[in-house]
C-alpha cells in the first residue's frame, strides 16, 4: 500500500500543505481534501472542462492532473477569481447575461475564460469559441456565455483604461 505523499503548493495565492495518495487527481485533492468544491467533476476524462483550473497560469483539466504533480506549483481555482468585496468581472457578466442555468459548467467556463483574457485581452468571437471548446454546457446553448465573455473583455479593458481596438 503506497503511503501518502506530502504536497506543498500555492493555491489561490495561499501556501497550502496536504497529504494525498499518488492516485488521487488534483480535482479530488481540491474537492475532497482541501474543501475547494467550486471546481466541478463532470466526465472525469478530460472532455467536459468542468474541472478546469490554472496550473502555473495555464489552463488544465484537473481530473487529468495528479495531486502529487502540483508540489511546488501554483494553482488558481474559481475560488481565486473574486476579490474580497466584489465578483470578478467575468462572474458579474455571467450573472448579467444569464450565461448559466444549472451552473455546473460555470466554474470551468469562468476559469477557461480567465485564461483566455489573461493572454488575449481583446479576443475575437472565434477565438473565444475556440478557447471555450473544451468546456461543455448542457443548458445555455453557449451563445450567452460567448456574449458574456465578449462583454467582460470590454469591461476589463475599460477598467484598465485601454482602448478596444
Amino acid at each position: 500500500m503506497p503511503t501518502k505523499v506530502h504536497v506543498t503548493a500555492k493555491i489561490n495565492g495561499d501556501e497550502v500543505e496536504f497529504l494525498c495518495e499518488p492516485r488521487q487527481s488534483l480535482l479530488e485533492c481540491l474537492r475532497d481534501i482541501l474543501n475547494l468544491t467550486g471546481t466541478k467533476e463532470g466526465c472525469n476524462d478530460g472532455n467536459c472542462g468542468a474541472c478546469s483550473v490554472l496550473l502555473n497560469g495555464r489552463l488544465v483539466n484537473s481530473c487529468l492532473v495528479l495531486g502529487v504533480e502540483i508540489d511546488g506549483q501554483e494553482v488558481t481555482t474559481v475560488e481565486g477569481l473574486a476579490g474580497a468585496r466584489e465578483l470578478h468581472p467575468l462572474q458579474q457578466v455571467f450573472l448579467e447575461h444569464a450565461a448559466l442555468q444549472c451552473g455546473i459548467c460555470t466554474p470551468g467556463f469562468l476559469v477557461a475564460a480567465k485564461a483566455l483574457l489573461d493572454r488575449y485581452p481583446h479576443p475575437s468571437e472565434e477565438q473565444i469559441r475556440f478557447w471555450l471548446a473544451g468546456n461543455l454546457c448542457r443548458c445555455t446553448g453557449y451563445d450567452k456565455i460567448v456574449r458574456a465573455v465578449m462583454d467582460a473583455a470590454k469591461k476589463l479593458s475599460q477598467r484598465t483604461g485601454e482602448v478596444h481596438p
Binding site: P2, R23, G49, A112
Partner: protein
C-alpha cells in the same frame, strides 16, 4: 484508480534506472492526458508511475539553422504553437499542435506522449513523419535513434523496450522552397479524434513549378500512422498540376488500410484519404511557394 507509487526523477539516468527496475508495471507519465484516462478506466494496471516532466533533456525546445529543431519528448502542444521560430520554419507542426484536444489539453499533452501512446490517429505523428523526424530513445544500454515512421508497431504498441524512454525528436532544417501541412477530418471543429488525418511535405524546384521531393503520411487508416511512400515518390519530378496531385491522392488511397469503427466506415475513410491528401498537398505547395519555411 488503483493505487500506485509516484516518482519524479530529475535526471534521465535516474528515470531509465527506475523504468528498467520496475519493468512492465511502470510507465512514464508526461501530460497524463492518455495515461491517467487509461489508468482510471482500468485499461492499464501499474504499480509505478514515473513523472518525466522534470528531466531537462525532455524539456528542450531549440532550433539551430545549421542542424534543425530539437523537441523534447515532454514539450506540450502550447509550447510548439506559441514558439515564433516554429511558427515560421515548421508551420506543419503548428497545424498538429493546435488541434489536439482543447486549450486545457494542449496545456498538458506532450509530443512524446502522443507518439508513445501510439494511437493510429495521433495527430502529431503524420506531421512529424512528413518532415523526416527521428526519435532519440534512451535506455539501460545507452541511446539509439529511430525514424518516426518506424516507431509505432501496432495500435498502442511501439519499439520501446524495457527501461527505454523517448527523449526527444530531431527535425532537419527544411530545404529551400519546401513546405509542409497537416489536417484531419472530424465531425466538429475541435475536441475530437481524427476520422482520417493527412500530412504532406514538398520540396519545389527553384522556379517553383516542379516537385523535387514529397512525403505523404496518413493517420487513422491503418494499425499505425502510415508513411505512404509510393504516393510521395510519384510526385518526384512532376510539374505541379491538379492531375499529378490527384494521382498522388489515388496512390495514398491505395496505401490506406482503413477499418470501420465508431468514427467512420472503410468507404468514408478511403474517400477522405483522397480529399485530405489533395488538401494537404495544396497546403504544403502553397507554403513552399510563399516561402513559409525560411530556415533563417
Amino acid at each position: 484508480m488503483k493505487a500506485f507509487e509516484y516518482r519524479a526523477p530529475r535526471s534521465l539516468s535516474e528515470a531509465v534506472a527506475l523504468l528498467a527496475e520496475k519493468g512492465e508495471k511502470a510507465r512514464p507519465l508526461a501530460g497524463g492526458t492518455d495515461l491517467i484516462v487509461q489508468l482510471r478506466g482500468g485499461r492499464l494496471d501499474l504499480d509505478f508511475v514515473v513523472d518525466i516532466k522534470w528531466i531537462p533533456e525532455l524539456n528542450q525546445l531549440s532550433y539551430d539553422p545549421a542542424s534543425g529543431l530539437t523537441i523534447g519528448a515532454a514539450v506540450p502542444c502550447y509550447r510548439i504553437y506559441e514558439d515564433p521560430v516554429i511558427r515560421r520554419v515548421y508551420p506543419g507542426l503548428v497545424d498538429a499542435a493546435s488541434i489536439i484536444g482543447g486549450i486545457g489539453i494542449q496545456g498538458r499533452a506532450t509530443w512524446g506522449g502522443n507518439l508513445c501512446n501510439s494511437s493510429p490517429s495521433g495527430d502529431t505523428i503524420p506531421a512529424l513523419m512528413v518532415l523526416g523526424a527521428t526519435c532519440t530513445i534512451a535506455g539501460p544500454n545507452g541511446t539509439r535513434t529511430v525514424p518516426v515512421e518506424q516507431f509505432c508497431t501496432a495500435p498502442g504498441r511501439n519499439v520501446l523496450r524495457r527501461g527505454e524512454m523517448l527523449v526527444s525528436f530531431h527535425i532537419p532544417v527544411p530545404l529551400p522552397h519546401s513546405g509542409a501541412y497537416y489536417l484531419r477530418f472530424i465531425p466538429r471543429n475541435e475536441m475530437d479524434i481524427a476520422v482520417v488525418g493527412a500530412g504532406a511535405s514538398v520540396v519545389l524546384s527553384n522556379d517553383l513549378s516542379t516537385i523535387t521531393a514529397a512525403r505523404i503520411a496518413l493517420g487513422a487508416v491503418a494499425p499505425t500512422p502510415l508513411l505512404a511512400e509510393s504516393a510521395g515518390n510519384a510526385l518526384i519530378g512532376k510539374r505541379i498540376s491538379d492531375e499529378t496531385i490527384a494521382e498522388a491522392a489515388r496512390l495514398a488511397q491505395q496505401a490506406a488500410r482503413p477499418i470501420t469503427d465508431m468514427r467512420g466506415t472503410i468507404a468514408q475513410r478511403r474517400h477522405l484519404v483522397g480529399v485530405l491528401t489533395k488538401r494537404a498537398l495544396h497546403g504544403a505547395i502553397e507554403r513552399a511557394q510563399k516561402g513559409a519555411s525560411h530556415a533563417h
